[in-house]
Amino acid sequence: MDGGVINIETWRLLLALVFALLAGGCSLALKLGLGRDILIGTVRTFAQLFLMGWVLGIVFAVESPWLVLGLFLVMAAAAAHTARGRVKESAVAFAWPMYFSMAAVYLLITITVTGAIIHAEPWWKPQYFLPIGGMVLGNSMNSVALALDRLFSDLRARAAMVEMKLCLGADAAEASAEEVRTAVRAGMIPSLNSMMAVGLVSIPGMMTGQILGGNDPTQAIRYQIVVMLMIVGATALGSTILTLIIRRRCFGPGDRPLLR
């Protein structure tokens, strides 16, 4: 025991590999063809988390706001890159606007949570800022990918409808308003579903961490409520802003639809 948390010794950590072996066994037995993915996923889990632990150790020790912001922007770039990879659309260039919008929106939300709600001092205190920022980015990455994928697929599937409205005098925003609404809704639904299930189906990550750390569960609950509301707000704001910005890029000069 160290500060309320039971330390996991190296050999016990390696013992956890038995679960990866179990997954590999299922893949072999059922000929799922996932053996390579399970192996790469396991190695990446070890490598990425050890690297993150090492970097966080340095950032916590240095305590520089620039270093914290720099790390946040790297995390935002990784989130944007991952979300970009999940959206299969090549006719519209959206990678850069996506990165800048994600970085700006989620930075603002993270600052609001650490500075105004948790009231960390200073607001960029890495022990608060980076985990909170990571949760905002991780959840929003999925919602942004879902929203954009839906936007692009709907603009293609409903091209005749969009075009019909344009021909009757609608501008690009009016012609695609319905597709934008559906896309933002698609981005928000997973976080809303999590809100419905939280505390009933699972004890969420942040709360689990605090309880394992020996904290008072009633205090852990308060943190988790902030996190849940923050994620809903972040996914709503991120999906809306990203969808609106990238919708504009789906139309050429003269409000000409590019997706058909």
């Binding site: 005749a160 409808m161 075009e163 009757l168």
Partner: protein, 240 residues
């Protein structure tokens, strides 16, 4: 190339327009090649003219119509409305002056009335008064849709009725020109006749310009159309 001329500025015109599509992968030819749709095409359509445009499938007849309302942009050359490049007009204004009717009728969820009033929900029509039910009903009657109540769900209409509804909706925006993209190809005889009658009336009674794309040879009953044929990137005047 012989073509119709006018001493006045033509209402709709193409001036040395070149347009090429990327060649679909399924077609023969080198990868990344393009297929010429219009090769330095010229066209001058006087106000109030009725143009019949024919040509083989895939020749680019729809593309030609779509150029006039900026749903396509030419690679070179100019597309003109009253002598002015269409790119100089705000797109919503252009598309209400030059109304393009899609080949497949597209209706929104809701009643016939909701569909007819759709163009008035856009900012471009903010200052226009909403037509009343009596005006809408009269318009439907002119398209042989007397038996269709305004409250009926548009989705329950037949294809022919939906095409007539779409034409009525386009006419409510009071366009100067109608671009009709094979509007009768999938219609029964009654619907086809009603659509073509309305197009001829638009030309004769309102002085509007019509370009009608048609696969089949079509002879209007009341107007003498200028017949053009589009094939292999060339637009040829076939006579009046």
């Amino acid at each position: 190339m012989p073509r119709q001329t006018s001493a006045q500025t033509p209402h709709l015109a193409l001036a040395r327009v070149r347009f090429a599509h990327a060649r679909p992968a399924a077609e023969s030819g080198p990868a990344g090649a393009t297929r010429n749709i219009l090769n330095d095409a010229d066209l001058a359509v006087p106000r109030g003219a009725f143009v019949l445009l024919t040509g083989p499938s895939g020749a680019g007849k729809s593309t030609l119509l779509r150029l006039f309302c900026r749903l396509e942009e030419p690679q070179t050359g100019q597309v003109l409305l009253d002598g002015r490049p269409v790119a100089e007009l705000p797109p919503a204004v252009l598309r209400r002056r030059v109304s393009y009717l899609q080949q497949t009728p597209t209706v929104v969820a809701g009643s016939v009335r909701d569909n007819l009033l759709l163009p008035f929900s856009f900012k471009a029509a903010a200052d226009e008064p909403l037509p009343g039910d009596a005006a809408l009903q009269t318009l439907l009657e002119s398209l042989a849709m007397d038996d269709v109540p305004l409250g009926q769900e548009a989705a329950t209409l037949s294809v022919g009725q939906r095409q007539r509804l779409c034409l009525a909706r386009a006419l409510l925006t009071r366009p100067e020109a109608l671009l009709l993209d094979e509007p009768v190809s999938a219609l029964d005889q009654e619907s086809a006749r009603a659509v073509l009658d309305a197009a001829e009336s638009f030309c004769l009674e309102r002085g509007g310009t019509v370009i009608l794309v048609s696969h089949a040879d079509f002879v209007p009953a009341r107007v003498a159309p200028a017949h053009y044929r589009l094939e292999g990137g060339r637009l040829t005047w076939m006579g009046a």
